[in-house]
Symmetry: C2
Subunit: 598 residues, 2 copies
């Protein structure tokens, strides 16, 4: 049975009814959260996106027909109710906005009946995610997900408003593009009109936004859908949304300034959190040296210390070999953790190995000042003391050391630092520590491809003072690139772009592109640069990640209406699926299964 709402008109959402409406007649519509008959009086909690309102049915008031309907109500029925607002007869419910009032129903229509849902619609669901994703339309009824998506909508609105006021134009760039081998794996779209040809879904609007600067649009932004066909991690989705912007006639400070004010506004208006400006800046090298990471979490200390000089003459071969091979020995001091049980220390050693360490050396300092150590036997007492002193080790501290190539040392200690902080509960989700990381290396060496690849992308401007190194020692060149980091998560990043054809050509040279390759892939951008290009720069944020941190969630799936799971499928719709042979024939493609790998 489903009744029509014809002739009825909702007067308020549930929590829009307030004490100011006492004495008035209202019409509310929504879902039955729960319903119970207590001594001939039926209490119904009505839910809509605004919250919950209590309805009371008494037969003497609403008549027998309506009362009979009210008796039938079960969870998730959709109803429309007309009634009078009164002060709550029972105890005021402090947990509800509408806790001081209730609506005494005069009539009810059942707009839709409901089967019992496969899991309860409630906050902090204990139901496993797989089931909730299958019934995402029910999961999305839960107040926590509603809160997240409402926040997401508000943030998007605010970002757009702010950027519009700052003179940015929102310009849509195409979704069906040319595939370029550089970067992550593209999602491809076969062309029907051009058999054997493919579009690629955009990994970012990078080339287009640079073209828009060449075209004189001055300031561009877009909340852009981007796609990467990579294996998924907890914080990745095959499609994601990017707050994407580009500006002409600017230097680094201009980009950072407008973005700081954007973040300040968003955090103030949405979370009532004050970000004090300017946001701290740190050079990439300093971030690596102090935190072993290019996205350091500043909510706690436990900084890395370089003890290479201190141990350079010791006999301990692990240290010795690392230093001789051009690496370093560095440590962190987990203060007050000197009594950590051996088992837990061993687990940390294993954890470190997962990040590429061959092992992890430690010194646990007892409350009495004694050392328990994995490598004391290779050291003199003086050497041990010097090392402890260099680490500011105090009684009761735990010192952990990695010795390897710098890259591995950073990686291991950076991860270890976070792991220990997490174990110790030092990561407070209510604290927001922002940081700009600047002066990234322009290039990184790719062992696999045996060539340099661009750390950000091939259009990133080198620092003027390093330009002379671009061909002689490219690994040393720093870039005019910047990342914005929040609590150890990279929220976004960008750079000043190369706008000089000669620099761009050198850059492609360093990356191992022939001129032909470069034109084949990026020809339209390089051609555009011939006709007058302004200095320009940009930045892009991962919107999903930003909202995840703002909503204090651990997974971006909790801030996306219809997310995919790890294998890039949708548990609700069963996408991807098989399609008609006719569809494939029209596209001139055939399925060609690889033989199972043995």
């Amino acid at each position: 049975m489903s009744e029509s709402m014809m002739g009825m008109r909702r007067s308020h959402r549930c929590t829009e009814v307030s004490q100011e409406n006492i004495g008035q007649k209202v019409t509310v519509m929504g879902w039955v959260q729960k319903s119970r008959n207590k001594g001939g009086i039926i209490f119904v909690d009505l839910r809509d996106r605004s919250g919950i309102l209590q309805l009371i049915f008494e037969e003497s008031e609403c008549g027998s027909e309506n009362f009979a309907k009210a008796e039938k109500l079960r969870s998730e029925f959709v109803i429309a109710v007309e009634g009078n607002v009164v002060e709550r007869s029972g105890a005021v419910n402090e947990n509800l906005t509408t806790g001081a009032i209730e609506v005494r129903a005069l009539s009810v229509r059942i707009l839709s009946e409901a089967e019992t849902p496969p899991f309860p619609i409630e906050e902090d669901s204990k139901t496993k995610e797989e089931l909730r994703l299958k019934y995402r339309y029910l999961d999305l009824r839960r107040p926590d997900l509603q809160k997240n998506l409402i926040m997401r909508s508000k943030v998007a609105t605010l970002v757009r408003q702010f950027l519009s006021e700052e003179g940015f134009l929102e310009i849509e760039t195409p979704m069906l593009n040319k595939s370029t081998p550089e970067g992550a794996r593209d999602y491809l779209v076969p062309s029907r009109v051009h058999p054997g040809n493919f579009y690629a879904l955009p990994q970012s609007p990078q080339l287009f936004k640079q073209l828009l600067m060449c075209s004189g649009y001055d300031r561009y932004f877009q909340l852009a859908k981007c796609f990467r066909d990579e294996d998924l991690r907890a914080d990745r989705q095959p499609e994601f949304t990017q707050i994407d912007m580009e500006m002409s006639f600017v230097e680094v400070d201009d980009v950072l300034d407008v973005n700081e004010r954007l973040l300040e506004k968003v955090f103030k208006e949405i979370l009532d959190v004050e970000i004090s400006l300017p946001i701290q800046r740190m050079k990439w090298q300093e971030a690596m040296d102090r935190f072993g990471s290019d996205k350091p979490d500043l909510r706690f200390g436990m900084e890395l210390k370089d003890v290479t000089e201190v141990v350079k003459n010791v006999e301990f071969v692990v240290f010795k070999n690392a230093i001789e091979a051009g690496g370093s020995v560095r440590g962190i001091n987990a203060e007050g953790q000197g009594a950590m049980p051996r088992k837990k220390i061993d687990a940390l050693v294993e954890f470190a190995k997962g990040y590429g360490a061959k092992g992890l050396a430690y010194i646990a300092i007892g409350e009495d000042g004694s050392y328990k150590s994995s490598f004391a036997k290779f050291m003199t007492p003086e050497e041990m003391n010097a090392l402890v002193e260099a680490m500011d080790g105090k009684n009761g501290d735990l010192l952990l050391f990695a010795a390897d190539k710098n890259k591995v040392v950073y990686n291991v200690l950076g991860a270890l630092r976070l792991e220990i902080a997490s174990q110790l509960g030092l990561l407070d989700k209510n604290e927001y520590r922002f940081l700009w990381v600047t002066e990234f290396p322009l290039l990184e060496w790719d062992e696999e491809q045996n060539r340099f690849t661009a750390m950000h992308h091939p259009f990133t401007m080198p620092m003027e003072e390093d330009l002379y190194l671009l061909e002689s020692d490219p690994g040393k060149v720093r870039a005019k690139a910047y990342d914005i980091v929040l609590n150890g998560t990279e929220l976004g990043g960008g750079s000043i772009r190369i706008h000089q054809n000669d620099v761009q050509e050198k850059m492609f040279g360093v990356l191992g592109f022939s001129k032909e390759d470069a034109y084949e892939q990026f020809g339209f951008l390089l051609n555009a640069f011939k006709y007058g290009v302004p200095p320009h720069a940009g930045l892009a944020y991962g919107l999903d990640r930003l909202i995840m941190l703002m909503a204090k969630e651990d997974s971006i799936r909790d801030v996306i209406a219809f997310p995919k799971v790890k294998d890039a499928s949708c548990l609700m719709s069963d996408a991807p699926n098989v399609v008609d042979a006719k569809q494939l024939k029209e596209l001139a493609i055939a399925i060609e299964m690889m033989e199972q790998e043995q």
Copy 2:
């Protein structure tokens, strides 16, 4: 040579400099529109997105080095100039915002040189579109395209602001979906993780927005990218943007009301055009009868007249046969066109044939009241007089008649009416005539598939009073559907949705879906409906088309930054293109060319 802008900071965009700045020093940056040396004084028109500003270089003021640079300036060079704002020495240029001032340059930096562009950067370009699309980044510099894209950005911002204020949440729906055979042809995306499976790009967020209503989001909107792999016409693109919305607990009037206020606001704020509300409404049947179209252009009359009754007894076989076959005879009166030359009338006959007419009967009434007619010989003078009278034919009018099945008659006369109005210059782009067309047929008969298909989509609610006909005479059932029409263009459309499982099942039955088919394709929506679904309704606008009309353009390519051409390719980037064999192998697909059709 390209100089760095380091240390310089733009103080104003070109037209932000005004008479108020006279006596001040400013720094402006932009493109050289033109440059000329007149008696040792160099005049430069500097262009940015805001407009044009005149710069003056005199060697005595700027020094020889800067003057030498100024002498080198050519069109499209990008420069940064510091100078003093003064009253214009020559005649005030009324065509420029900055026509009363000029900037006397003190220094100039050439930020980027430029080759001579392949076509001039100017308004109302005479360059053929193909070349302009190849160099789209240059075409986009032209002020008319900049005006269009700036308008588009403003409209999008305004729409978002309005809908947010009305309680709509912007919620992103996925791009990688399940393919469903119903509707237009999908763009497919092969899955790498699930070989042999495909995603489909969305034709619209229809199912997702209905799910969001089931999930209690109450009011949803999105500026959604949609995709259809159809053969392109002038006003179609493979990807397009839709202002998409959905509302819960509403009736038709609620949807129309919020959208009328939206349109009122957009037209007022962007074009300073007042739309008087409420917007006129017309039932579909009336629109067809009076205008031969479900998207009538109301800027002129020339309405259709049904003369079937008048001619039902005449001997003229064309009329006779049409009427006997259940069709009709209708005409339009092209007032004052009685003297149209035979050649032009013949062209109209050919035009009509293009719309399915077997021919076109006409009566040209001379200024003396005499008739020239293609069929007078089959008619008595009395019959001719009666027909002319029924058509309100006056001396000097041209009457045109179609006789066929109703569908053909509507189609032919609807098109003819527009064609003649266009020839007569009756289509004033400055006039905006809005119309709601309501009470569409729910279904239309598909000759090819030999079944009914949904005129809007399978979730459209039938009118309650016609529900009893759904199984007995489905062709007669009217839908709670509405289109918004502007000047003969369908801007958007929508409907009340079916929210009752039993009605939905009947609907699928009429469409020839088995229950299995229905669940296979739309299972997650039908399942969602089992758990409590609110009455809901929605509407979607074609944003590209809306902007095209607002910008008074004839092609949506002129309001899209990077459009595709008819064969769905991008002339600038050469998308789609061939991809590496490795990419296809990873996706488990192979290209399988069909043999050339003979």
